[in-house]
Point group: C2
């Protein structure tokens, strides 16, 4: 089994953190994104989306989409559970994780593809729309404020316990800060408290 | 238990189709979207995103995000499984469902918020960016072609069997055709074959 990976991309990091929380070791293959290795015909056979991470099983089956890879390992190694075990917990974690991805993550993605770093490293691959970035930057900052309010009432993103929703949120917010110039305002103290907590888990540096 | 619903919105339909496939009946409450009932303080208590569907349990717990609601019912009523039972099936279905949502569904959403119907029914709620719609329309049509190619090699979206990925794909494509003016080209015969198959299941009219 092999995990196609890259040290700074946010989605492979989600899988690495997830595996670290479950204490699972998987052989990793680093994909050279700058050289476009994820867009070669050989790699597109593994994932036609041309993205990492990809988990290649010993029988040749390739699984892409980081959460799909995480669910594969959750099914094989259910403890500790990161997607919930009761119907209500499963639903609650999925709800919060999807909000993080579909609202926060999506807007961070829009700011990223229309931003300065992409303009430099992927010249010509995207037609950038500055107005879209203005909208998404505002949406990201509004979501940070909302999360800060939510985290006044609970320890973690989806409730009292650490879950896959925390992994998703940590990875997208760290990415936004480091590569999209969208750092949460220092005044958002609940969000800062949560970031410190999840960021100091040993898995965070996986 | 109550499901907050609307007859023509695509996300509540995903839940209705899912419930019909599992032969589960749930009391439904229709939310008047045109009157903005989903944006009232009372409704925002149920889902701060101001969106439907929402499943309200008898203990007052509210679950939003259609797939989170579906996972709640999958956990309580595992047969027939629509999210898979083995690690590999779970991962495969999640992978295909996420591709449908994160690429196709996301672009249909961009075409929708920047399109003619929204300009009419939600005047002023969105600042529309025509250039974003040009990009997303092209991405949707490219995805239809890709899906057509995939469906040359397998019966359903995620493999041989009907799954939650088919429900997601059917609901977003029907929505795109009916309300976003993005009908798949008639020449895409594999996609047309699949649409006919899933659309003729009794659940499709739920």
């Amino acid at each position: 089994m092999k995990l196609y990976d890259h040290p700074t991309a946010p989605n492979p990091r989600r899988v690495r953190v997830f595996l670290a929380e479950k204490d699972i070791e998987v052989e990793r293959v680093s994909v050279d994104l700058q050289a476009g290795e994820h867009k070669t015909p050989e790699f597109l056979q593994k994932n036609m989306n041309g993205q990492i991470p990809v988990l290649e099983l010993d029988d040749g089956t390739c699984i892409s989409e980081s959460i799909a890879i995480c669910r594969y390992f959750e099914a094989l190694h259910p403890d500790p559970s990161l997607f919930g075990t009761t119907a209500k917990d499963i639903a609650r974690i999925e709800m919060h994780m999807r909000r993080i991805e579909l609202v926060l993550g999506r807007n961070i993605g829009v700011s990223w593809v229309n931003g300065a770093v992409v303009a430099q490293i992927a010249k010509g691959r995207f037609t950038q729309i500055p107005e879209a970035k203005t909208q998404s930057d505002a949406a990201v900052n509004a979501y940070y404020e909302r999360l800060d309010g939510e985290l006044a009432n609970r320890a973690m993103i989806a409730g009292d316990d650490y879950s896959a929703a925390d992994i998703s949120a940590m990875c997208v917010i760290d990415f936004a800060e480091q590569l999209v110039n969208l750092k949460p305002d220092d005044g958002l103290s609940n969000l800062a408290r949560w970031r410190k907590q999840v960021g100091s888990r040993p898995s965070a540096s996986a």
